[in-house]
């Protein structure tokens, strides 16, 4: 509870640089999906949409996808590769891999805690 209250009050400008996705606002979710997709290898926009739809059941709209891509690229979490046609592939950078690992570990801690509390109060399904 304390953790939630503190993070809710944290001003926009005081976000820790160790949480690069913290500055993404409503694009944090799409950014996580994109990084998770790129963890497998380089992909261009359409391939990203298809892969994310397959593993997460979410179809990212083109505007949202590219807004998240441009922010990820701006923060150095992904980089564009050279391309011979108009479809430019992107790949994860070392900084991006570390950021994704930290972000997913934090999400896993929350998920584990939530599941433990559910099991304690509501029993296992």
């Amino acid at each position: 509870m304390t953790l939630v209250a503190r993070s809710a009050k944290a001003p926009e400008d005081d976000r820790s640089p160790s949480e690069p996705l913290g500055t993404f606002g409503r694009y944090a979710g799409p950014a996580t999906l994109i990084l998770s997709s790129l963890a497998e290898g380089a992909k261009h926009g359409y391939a990203l949409t298809k892969d994310i739809e397959a593993f997460a059941g979410v179809r990212l709209a083109p505007g949202t996808l590219y807004e998240a891509l441009s922010r990820l690229e701006g923060q150095g979490l992904i980089e564009a590769l050279d391309s011979h046609d108009r479809r430019r592939p992107y790949q994860l950078t070392a900084v991006g891999a570390a950021a994704l690992r930290a972000h997913l570990a934090a999400q896993r801690r929350v998920a584990d805690l939530g599941l433990r509390r559910l099991a304690r109060s509501w029993g296992t399904a």
């Binding site: 926009e12 400008d13 500055t23 606002g25 261009h44 926009g45 359409y46 949409t49 709209a61 083109p62 505007g63 949202t64 996808l65 590219y66 807004e67 891509l69 441009s70 922010r71 701006g74 923060q75 391309s83 046609d85 108009r86 479809r87 430019r88």
Partner: protein
């Protein structure tokens, strides 16, 4: 290329127009490819169109330094200051129109309500503040621009600077010409019959002659002299040139970090001035009285002006927040 694929490309290009030029030159090709594939798969999608429109507007706001999206601190301050300049331009166009209408009225008779009286004192004080802030902010930028141009490192500064100078010159010369034709000055620009000299009142009145509800009454407008009509049509163009020229200059000139912080600090005072000026305008509209000979009456154009000024203040406030954020990041470097 077949007709169907041409149509697809056309639709994708149309959606791409929501984005700013810089964004299009970086992501345009690949985004068009993705859109074409999406349209092929789902020919009609309102959600897709709305998403592209929203993201395009977000990219434009980011480009204008008005979103929380982290860009390079120097760019952030420059973009935010340019947006503040545009918002201040809109604010002053309507603000000066309201203020000059009241100062002209005061040349003939004092207001008979304390609300209008207090509003006028407050608004006049803020006009003086805007004038001082404009000079203080323009000096370092002008020095920097001149230095760059002299050293032939102008980086595209000449055209926006000329645009600014041309707009300002046209407005000053035109306002002097049409202000001189107004009888309230008594033939002397500094004749003090009201709160401010008659020449100042006439000059500001002439500079915002285009901000009028006469546009909604073409019959009455037709009785105006041709020269005045031309001035009413061309002066807004000059205002746009002045504001756009200033904004583009600020965005392009490579100001040192301490100058950027100084400008961000002045910008904060400018928003305080806007808040006080707007408060004065609201006091006049809400609590004021038409006064003697209906000299201080409010009209539909004044209400429209207040709405536009409120919107401009909201944009300016956001721009100053982002400029301050960029300024802090510059200090931390």
């Amino acid at each position: 290329m077949s007709e169907a694929s041409e149509d697809l490309a056309r639709r994708a290009e149309r959606l791409l127009r929501w984005y700013p030029k810089d964004w299009r030159s970086r992501y345009g090709d690949e985004f068009t490819e993705l859109l074409t594939a999406e349209i092929c798969e789902r020919p009609r999608s309102l959600r897709r169109s709305a998403d592209v429109a929203w993201s395009g507007l977000t990219a434009r706001l980011t480009n204008a330094g008005l979103t929380g999206h982290a860009i390079e601190p120097g760019d952030q301050v420059r973009a935010s200051l340019a947006s503040l300049g545009c918002a201040l331009g809109v604010f002053l166009a309507f603000g000066i129109a309201i203020w000059s209408q009241l100062t002209i009225g005061w040349q003939w008779s004092e207001p008979d309500t304390s609300a209008t009286y207090a509003a006028m004192i407050l608004m006049s004080g803020m006009m003086l503040l805007f004038l001082i802030l404009s000079v203080l902010s323009a000096i370092p930028i002008a020095c920097c621009v001149v230095e760059r141009i002299v050293r032939r490192r102008s980086q595209g500064l000449v055209r926006p600077s000329l645009l600014f100078v041309a707009g300002a010159a046209f407005l000053i010369i035109g306002s002097r010409h049409f202000g001189n034709g107004w009888p309230g000055t008594g033939g002397h620009a500094w004749a003090q019959q009201g709160l401010v000299p008659g020449g100042v009142a006439a000059f500001t009145w002439a500079s915002t002659l285009s901000v009028t509800s006469y546009w909604a009454h073409p019959g009455a407008l037709a009785s105006f002299p041709t020269g005045e009509l031309l001035w009413m049509a061309l002066s807004p163009v000059a205002m746009v040139c002045l504001v756009v020229g200033a904004a583009k200059t600020v965005r392009r000139v490579d100001l040192p970090p301490r100058v950027l912080r100084y400008e961000a600090c002045l910008a904060r005072f400018a928003t305080y001035g806007m808040i006080a000026f707007l408060a004065g305008s609201y006091v006049w509209v809400i609590a004021g009285d038409p006064g003697p000979k209906d000299l201080f009456h409010t009209g539909a154009i004044d209400i429209a002006g207040l709405v536009a000024m409120s919107a401009a203040l909201a944009v300016a406030h956001r721009a100053v927040q982002r400029a301050r954020h960029g300024g802090l990041a510059l200090i931390q470097r």
